[in-house]
Symmetry: C2
Subunit: 425 residues, 2 copies
């Protein structure tokens, strides 16, 4: 008998995420919070109507890849270059402080009796990698993605993602004694070199091809998306860099072609129609509250506190060193808070390779959930005094859906205008 359950799962996820994000908007919260709540409510933590399974996980992975591809397509490369040095400093300080915090927590408040030095360090590594997708979505909603602080956050999150992966590879290797430090670093260096060469080569190929038609053809969007998926895969498997980093770089490569806006608009529709609701819901689906004992609960609480404090302090400090204003330091620190799926991936790999105990999974999942849910709330709060118009989701520029509305309005306006002209003659 064929299994049809996944069709209902997708239907329920689309309906619930949309209804709850409409509700969040009504009570002036970021819509992402509603989408995350949908997963908590549908999943084992509450109603138990939808289970986390491999299909949902894969769709969610494609969702986060497309989100990062969109972010890359929309990035202003020149602005990124300007904020590059600052991003590097923010990322490095924002990685060192959480590693220290994780190690201190594991050493002084152990969950399962005193762990090894590397196990405690690994708790810190889990706290390093920022999941920038939630922040990107929130900044987009607030209309702050292309600001000075927005660019610093994006750049720093990308770099600390790479640092997190280096950390993961190094600690796993050192704890087992199998991986050569030099080899890991060499692969990452190779990825950077290949990306620069690919960037120059593929950008040119795509532009020549795109110049062959005078209008926006569907094929430009479809082939670009294929390029994104293949690049993400190659980054992950060949170079050991996270797939989402690969997707972001693929977007960056195509961001200066003449069809970037068109590709972004098509990917945006693909995102909001299916992929990103499933991604956001899948995070909430992973939470299972029933497995919480009181000592686990206490440890989780401390772990969450350490996660929040070390990142805000670390990144804020980094930003301060680069001469950002106090309010921008707070924004940058807060924007780097959410750990999302990257933290989960690192923890998962740590458990499989035996560096940390399985018992740590629940605290990690809770930390990821809480930091992901509070990031948009806190981020909105830190931008409360910032000047500039707030762009609500529905009126976001550069999307096909709005262009579609616009063409209808424009057509109507043109007709009325021409009719008026005729009457006047």
């Amino acid at each position: 008998m064929e299994n049809y359950r996944f069709i209902m799962d997708v239907g329920l996820i689309l309906l619930t995420t949309k209804l709850l994000s409409m509700l969040s908007k009504r009570v002036k919260m970021p819509q992402v919070v509603g989408a995350l709540m949908a997963g908590l409510i549908l999943g084992p933590a509450c109603l138990g109507m939808v289970d986390d399974n491999i299909f949902i996980q894969n769709i969610a992975s494609l969702g986060v890849i497309v989100l990062m591809f969109e972010a890359g397509l929309g990035t202003d490369v020149n602005e990124l270059k300007r904020s590059g040095k600052a991003s590097l400093v923010i990322a490095i300080v924002g990685v060192i402080v959480p590693i220290f915090g994780g190690w201190a927590l594991g050493t002084f408040f152990p969950l399962l009796g005193p762990g090894s030095f590397w196990e405690n360090i690994f708790l810190g590594i889990i706290l390093t990698a920022t999941s920038v997708s939630i922040t990107v979505e929130t900044l987009k909603e607030l209309g702050k993605l292309k600001t000075h602080s927005g660019n610093a956050i994006l750049g720093a999150a990308l770099i600390d993602d790479v640092l997190g992966i280096i950390g993961l590879s190094l600690v796993s290797g050192l704890a087992e004694g199998t991986v050569l430090v030099g080899f890991v670093l060499l692969k990452i260096l190779a990825f950077i070199v290949v990306s620069i060469l690919c960037g120059l080569f593929f950008r040119r190929i795509f532009q020549v091809w795109m110049n062959k038609a005078s209008w926006n053809r569907k094929r430009f969007a479809v082939v670009s998306l294929a390029f994104c998926f293949i690049y993400a895969y190659v980054a992950e498997v060949l170079f050991g860099v996270a797939d989402i980093t690969g997707a972001y770089i693929a977007g960056l490569i195509l961001s200066s072609t003449s069809r970037a806006t068109f590709i972004e608009a098509n990917c945006h529709t693909l995102s909001y129609m299916l992929l990103s609701p499933v991604f956001f819901a899948s995070i909430g689906l992973k939470v299972n509250v029933s497995s919480l004992s009181s000592s686990l609960f206490l440890f989780s609480l401390l772990f969450i506190l350490v996660a929040i404090l070390t990142k805000v302090v670390g990144c804020g400090l980094g930003a301060k060193l680069c001469g950002y204003s106090n309010s921008d330091c707070l924004r940058i620190g807060t924007g780097m808070l959410s750990r999302g799926e990257v933290g989960l991936v690192i923890a998962d790999k740590g458990i499989i390779s035996g560096v940390i105990h399985t018992a740590y999974l629940t605290p990690v999942i809770l930390m990821v959930t809480v930091t992901t849910i509070i990031t948009p709330l806190l981020l909105k709060w830190t931008y409360r005094d910032a000047p500039g118009k707030q762009v609500p989701e529905e009126e976001e520029p550069n999307t096909l859906a709005d262009a579609y509305g616009a063409v209808q309005n424009l057509e109507e306006a043109s007709i009325q205008y021409l009719e008026k002209l005729e009457r006047n003659q």
Copy 2:
């Protein structure tokens, strides 16, 4: 270790289907043929780069559901009512002839020695259900979906889908002696009644909600798609009617709301960016030529011939009885040729419930592949003399992508026009 293979699979499928459908277009073949070939080339039949797995299958299922939802949204209900009686006659004759053909083949040219009466009848049942999605896609491409013959095909395919499912349920039940004929028919009748009531109720609810905003909001598209998925699931699981029939009915229900075009355009983008390339490729992925022996090959060849002849003759005869012209009879018979995934589902269920032997799977898969590939080719040929403009895929009206291009052109034109006016003053 997490598995990243599916990211590459999706990337390869998007790239290959797009490149091959561009190639088919260049040699004046329907683009669907290229997309189907992509699966054959990537899959175990040729390169073996992509395997058919549960993730690909699920995405493909969502793809065919969204295709049928789009078809429902674009259906002119009044035209369907007009062609309703004809569709019924075409479907019934087009089901009786293939059942007889399948039975005759199984009786006179048995693959594994003489089978039981029900096994041979079941071979006929596999030949009944038309997979209308390929035909819909081809007719769309040819700009013939909303013609007299196009509507007859759509209606008849829907009905013979229901007849196929009734046949499947009846034969499985009769062969095992467990299912009551009356119960199956009662559930289908209940589905029809519920659909009419739901149609009136939900159409009203959606319209009241859609009237609350003066512009096209994303939520209309997302919630409508959720409605489609939930309706498809309910049709399949509660009423035993195929999920794709449920999706088509869901589209039909929303087709007369004021946002139908907007919803369709959003679903179309979701389709061509991810879902439908995976669906078309997945059919080719199922073929494995290496398992062919010479007797299996001969049987498959005969099975394919019976599949083609019985459907063209049966449906053509039905159309003739309803007074269609000879050329329209040929078009209708040809349009009903492709069996697609419905034949596979029926065969799969028959094998699992033990009505037919596993050895029949390869002939069924080959029959599905061949009928699916030749349908667009033959269909295009039957319409070669038909009047009316042929609309190539890229210039299809009512899609967001084109609206997007149009808004840019229109804006430019408006600016130039206003500049000209100013200069003249």
